[in-house]
Structure formats: C-alpha cells, structure tokens
Assembly symmetry: none
Homo-oligomer: 241 residues x 4
DNA sequence: AATGAATGAGATTTCATTCAT
DNA sequence: TATGAATGAAATCTCATTCAT
C-alpha cells in the first residue's frame, strides 16, 4: 500500500461519457463528508462501508471506485479535515506581532471553534481509540497531524520564552499540558457527551478559559506577575531531540 | 446430540482433557487479568472473547461459565480494576490534615502510579472510544467511575477554597482542568505510545509535575502567592446543580 | 446402543456407603418427573440436560449416572408415563361385558383424563415433532406406544362389528378417525394452548363429546340408530365470542 | 479488515465466484422452496440457515441478503405457502350454491390435495412442535393461518345449519372435530410417516372419506338422513397385516 | 454416589470486498 | 461510471458430555 496515496487518484483518468457530468466532480467531497460523520459517530472499525456509501447517496461499489479500501478512505478524511487548519495556525504564528499569551489564547479559541466543536474533533477520538489496532493509520496520523501541531505550539512557547514573556519551561512537556485539556474536552464531547451522559452543565468554552487563566498564572514570567511562586521543576530549555 | 445421519453433530470422543479443574478459585482472577490486558490492547469490540479465554489458558466455553457475556466481563474488569482505587482516594481525602495543594499532588501521583501507568489506565481509552457504540457500558462507567472521581476532586477543591488556600473558582470546571492532562497522558500511553510512535522522550511524570506547578500557580490564593495575577474569570462559587 | 435398556440398570450394583441412603431410591423417579415436565414444555432437542438435573435437585453429572444419554432418558420417560396406561386399557377391553359404544366412550374419557390433560399428553407432541430428527426414538415410540394403542382400539371396533352393534368399516382407518381428534386436542393443549393463544373458550371435553356423538351417529348400525339416545350436547348455536 | 498482525482477519483473495447474479429475480422463490423443504423435514430450530442457503445453491451470506433472520424466513414461507390456499377456500364458500355437505367434502379433499399431501402440510407440524419455544412465530401463525381457517369452516357449518341441512351443533367445537383428522393425518405423514414407520397401508384419502361419512352420519339433519346415500366406502373387514 | 468445571463443535448473523453487468 | 448481488471468514454464545475429585 502506498504511503500517502491521493485517494481520488484511484479514479482512472479516462474521460468518461459527458452526459452525466452532473455531480461526478462532487462525489469525493460527498463521500468524505459522509465518512467523516460516520467515523466520528461510530469509530473506524464499527463504521460499515455500505453505510458511508448510502449516506453519500451512492452504492457500495461506487465507494470502492474512489477509495480502494476503508483505510484509504479514512486517510483522505484526515487530510481533508485537519491539514488545512494546521497550516492556518502556522501562518497565524508567523504573522503575529504582539504578546504570545494573546496568540495562545487566540489559537486555542480558534481551534476549539473550527475543530473541537465540529465533527473534525471526533477524529482525535477515533485515532486515540484505534491506533493500536491500525498501526498504519496511526503512523499516518502522527506524521500528518500530531507532529505538525506539536511543532506549532512549541514554536509559540519558544518565542514567548525568548522574548522573556514566559518563564523557561521544558517546551515539549508544556505543549502536552496545553494540548491536554482541549483534547480532553473534545473527546468528552464525542464520547460520553454524545450519549448525553455526564454533566450537561459543562460549558466547554468556559472550561477552556479557566484553563488558560490558571495556566498563564503559572506560565507568565515573574516580570509579568510581579512575583513568582516557587517551582519544583527547575527552569530548563527544550529537550533536544 | 446426533440425530439424523446428515446431522454433523456427531461429537468425536474428546481426547482426554489434560488437567481439569486446576485452580477453580483462581479462574475469575485469571480471566479478568486476561480480559483487562486484551481490552486495553485492542478495545472492547475488537477483542474476541475466545482470545480472552485462550490467554487465560482455558477454552471458550469456560469463559462463559464465569461471565455470561462480553459486556458483563467488561463490567467485572472495571469493578475489579478501578473501584477500589477510587475508594482509596476518598479515604485519603477524609484523613488528610495539611494543605490541599499537597494532597492534590499526592492524589495525582498516586493515581498515575497505580492507574495511569498500568493497564488499568487503558480502560479510559476503551470507554472514550466505545461509549457511543455501547451505551449501557457507558452509563455503567459514568456511574461507577467518572462520577465518583469527579466528586472526589470537587471535594478536595472545595476544602481548599473553604480554608482560603485556593482562590474561588468554578469547582466543576476546575475538576475538568485537573483531570484533563492525566487522562490525556494515559490515553497517549495506551494509543500512540503503545505503538512506540510519537515522542519517545515523553516522561509522563515530568509532565504531570509541570502541570501541577503551572496549575497551582494559577490556583493558589493571593495570600499564598503574595500577589495574584489578574484573572479574566471573575471569582465565583461552584455552579449550582 | 441396546434396544430397550432399562435405564436405571445403568446404576452399578455396588452396595454403596449406607449413610446417605436418604433418597437414593427415589432419584430415578425424580429425574423422570423433571424430564417429563421439561420435554413437554420445550420439546426433546430444546430441553437442556442441565435443566432436567436442576429441576430434580441434582447436578448435571448425576443425571448421566442414571441415564447414559438424553435419548435414553427420554425412552425411560415414555415407558414410565405411557406403558402402564395402555396395559390398563387392554384390561378394560378384556373385562367389559356390555355395548362397545359404551366402552369406547369410557376408554376415551379415561384416556383424556389420565393422559390428555396431564403432561403425559405432551409426549405425543414431542414425538410428532421430532420423529424425523431422531429416528431411533421414533421407532421406539411406534413399538411401545402407537402400535399397542392401535391394537387396542382395533380390537374394540372388531368386537362391536362382530356383535352387529357397529356397521362394518375398515378397521384400521376407523382407528385413525377415532384417535385423531383426541390427539389433535392434546397437541393443541401443549402447543398453542400453552401459549394462551387460540380460542380460550375451547372446552376439550365438550369437543370430545361432540365427536363421539357425531361419530357414533355414523358408526352405529341402523338397528341401533332407531333407538339412538338424544345427543348429549343440547342443540345450540355458535357460542358467542 | 486486517489490522494488527495477530488479527486473523486477513482475507485470502477469494477464488473467483463461478457465476454471479445468475437469477436475481428467482432467488426469493428458490430460497423459500429450500427453506420449506428443510423446515418440514427437520423443524424450525433444527434447520440450520446455512443448509437452507446451500440447498438453494447460494452462500450463507446471500440468504441474509433476502431475509434478515431465520424467523422472518419462516414467516415468508408461511405466507407463500398457506395464505393463498386459505383465500381460495373462502372464495369457494362464497360461490358455492348447492348442499354444504358437498362443499365440505370438496373443501377437505382440496385441502388434502393441495396442502396435506405436499410439503406445505408439514408446516402444521412445525408450528405444533415449536409454538412454545417461539411465541412470536406462534402468534403470527394463529393470526395468518389458524384463525382464517377456523372462520372458513365455521361459516360453512353455519350456512348448513341455517338452511336446515345440518343439525344444530356448537359451531366452534364442530370445527375442531372437522379439522382434527385432517391435521392428524398430515402430522402423521410428516413425522412417523416420513420415517416409513407405522402402517405403510395407511391410505390417507380413504381415511378422510371414512371420516366424512361417519361425521356426516352424525351431522346431517334427520330429514336428510332418510335419503342418505350408502356409505362410499363399501363395508369390509380389517385389512390383513 | 455425587459433583460441577471444563470442553469444543456448532449455530446465527455481520460485513469488507469483488466483479459481472 | 456505477451498480448491487454474492461471498465467506469471523464473532458471540450454547450445550451434551466427560472426568478428576
């Protein structure tokens, strides 16, 4: 199986009869949308390919015409759904001028708005759940999503530390601390939350704000805070790869 | 029971079972251990009950002698694996005398040691992954695990706030912020971590320490910190149910 | 497998330890009673041997101590339940002095009372249902039950015809006509009747009476018909729903 | 879908199916015919769905393409096999002009010809046998077969009574008396008869005739009896074994 | 004599994938 | 291009029978 086969390329290039050009171009999009919704709802293994086809309004066979297997379909969904947003974040970082604390707040709200709330957030759940059963998908997801995201936040923290805005902390660890609550809320939303179990009062955005406040309380440099609390972890730099 | 000739049920005389009834008392434990390991590795749906039996060294039928269905087996695993630890935490809270910050640190380390590191932590992954596909299990897990854990941490925060040690925050939200990174690390460990993908340097305990430091930086009351950072969320009490 | 193995003979004759002589002798009876009830309720194939043992208050292993297989258990039930009644009928025929019509009425009522109403009647259902799946059982049942019963009624009819009381008919066919409604009612009782479906008004004894009246109307010789007794069932219309 | 190495789901490339989609339209009929034959032969519970598929010349999965469960397959068989005949009987009753005794004879012969002799008659055996184990099927059969048949015969008897042709009897009871021998013969045919046990001389049609003669002897009103035809079965003695 | 833990073939049903049309 | 009938391996759960104790 090719590493990153561009799914729709499975379509043979023969210029077909022109009479029903109607939605032929839209097919891949429709299939990806259907697949995203179902993968998020049921998980990867539990989603039946026939159901994906049905929701997209085509037959089972047609699905296999566009994507040669369920795994390739999933990869296409990931690319379609997450890749662009990560690129956007990197651009925000490159262009931002002011305080990193502000950018951090902005990036996280943006992520929540565009990913966490929608079905795209459910992909995290899928991968977390099924990584061990589908190692090839897991590797793909690490390469295409996790690593770039991590680099983005690490860069942000480093800029803040370089300018003296943030205290010096272990960058890679801090990235995990930053990501954790967002991912956690997303997972909740797509697992117990979707069953309407567990805490209907939970307002995710409010939790995110609280987290940012608490976190920045510990992150901002003494100059920003007037006085720093003692810290058990001695300041360090980013661990070398 | 053989009947008419074409019935293929004629059972060949079984080649004498090697050692029957070896350890009647130990069976449930062995089955639960095998089930825990496999559920964590593969998830609930993807684990075949025959494989559980095989790993416990018994036949398919024997498993069903002890647990009437895969769902009941899973519930038994959850009770066996998580229930006692939650009770212990509640006892720690009841008996603790000193600062809540200290207890918080202690509880979280304990949890990481006893749950997060071992296979028990993988149960969180399973439930997050399969809650929507197995609503009855989801409800069971909320009742037996999530709700008691939440109550434990909420109680801890409230005691800290009552004594003036902590600033006043929305308790339920703060619980989510506290839980999130631990759960996140656990999930990592049992998904990508188990594939040995993604960040082999990650030292979970170090991340937890960092999180506690950052968090306490934002959580400790002004008196403890000498000076408090400005907070966007106005101080409040626990949201009423 | 021996043709007619006397089931309890499977018990080895070793004079066992005398301390628990309690109900050892009663065991076969208890097992047969439990088996009869369950066979009638569920059929032969659908009755689980463990359930038979449980209802008799012994363990699965003990059942196999007395009867070497489910088939042998069934045969023992048939012998125990039906054999004696057939012998009784033959004695009634041998001793009866008066009109055969009277004896016929008496035999059929007796049968209904002792067999049709009780669980023994259910055995007919079992055999009808499972004869083709268990040919050995079928042969056994024909030899032990059907053939003797047929001989009994045939003898009765022949005596009636010989004395001029009955018209001359094909004896074997008439036996079928006589047996049919009784068997039919019994089957009803143990299938749809037991589900409480179908006609709660059905009073089996009344139907039997009607059948005898109608039948005797056709069976009695012209000489007898002149003086025919008024029908036991008073003329009526269809019972209101 | 192959996942981790130990997953035994790696599907070997199927050796090209011989002839797909041969007769899409004919499939349901073929499946119903196969199912009818096997259900009658072995009963509902003892018939394996795979065997039905095999007899119809398709694979296990194909059967489930047409009927979602064994129970639904059975219902379809019942509808296909019995429903139309019942409707025909009702039409015969509506259109008949002459004596009811004649119609009764005609209906019963017709039933024997079309149902009793063929495999359709075996369905009665199945339902009698398995009603208690499959209550939903029992209810279905009562609604679709038993009740309509009963109504048909009740209507016939009532017309005969209204015109003075028949004596006044309890209609519902008389219906049972009428049905019993036919059902009894059918059951015989599909149980012991099919094993070639019990009375190879039995000529079912002759028995039916005898039953009708005897029955009508008791059923016809005195006025009719004067002119009753001589019994169609000439007097004889017991057939020699 | 009695127990009951253990076995393992087998039953129904599901679903990714293929391929003739 | 598109279809959807067909396949068959696999998964959960059952139960008659055995045999060590």
């Amino acid at each position: 199986m090719p590493a990153v086969p561009n799914a729709p390329s499975a379509r043979p290039a023969v210029a077909a009869a022109p009479q029903r050009q109607r939605r032929k171009e839209a097919r891949p999009q429709e299939l990806l949308a259907a697949a995203l919704a179902l993968f998020v709802e049921k998980g990867f293994a539990a989603t039946r390919s026939e159901e994906v086809a049905a929701r997209a309004g085509v037959s089972k066979g047609t699905l296999y015409l566009y994507y040669p297997s369920k795994e390739e379909l999933f990869k296409a969904v990931v690319r379609e759904t997450l890749a662009s947003h990560i690129a956007d974040g990197q651009q925000m970082l490159a262009q931002h001028q002011g305080a990193m604390a502000e950018l951090l707040r902005q990036v996280m709200h943006e992520w929540w708005q565009r990913i966490g709330l929608g079905p795209a957030g459910g992909i995290s759940k899928i991968m977390t759940a099924e990584a061990r059963n589908f190692p090839e998908l897991a590797q793909f997801y690490v390469d295409e999503v996790i690593a770039p995201t991590h680099r983005l936040l690490a860069g942000l923290l480093e800029r803040g530390m370089a300018s003296g805005e943030f205290r010096r902390v272990l960058v890679d660890d801090a990235v995990h601390v930053l990501i954790a609550p967002m991912l956690h809320l997303t997972l909740q939303q797509h697992s117990f939350g979707a069953c309407m179990l567990h805490d209907p009062d939970l307002d995710a955005r409010r939790v995110l704000d609280l987290q940012l406040d608490l976190m920045l309380g510990g992150l901002l440099a003494p100059a920003q805070l007037q006085e720093a609390p003692p810290l058990s972890t001695p300041p360090g730099t980013r661990r070398p790869k």
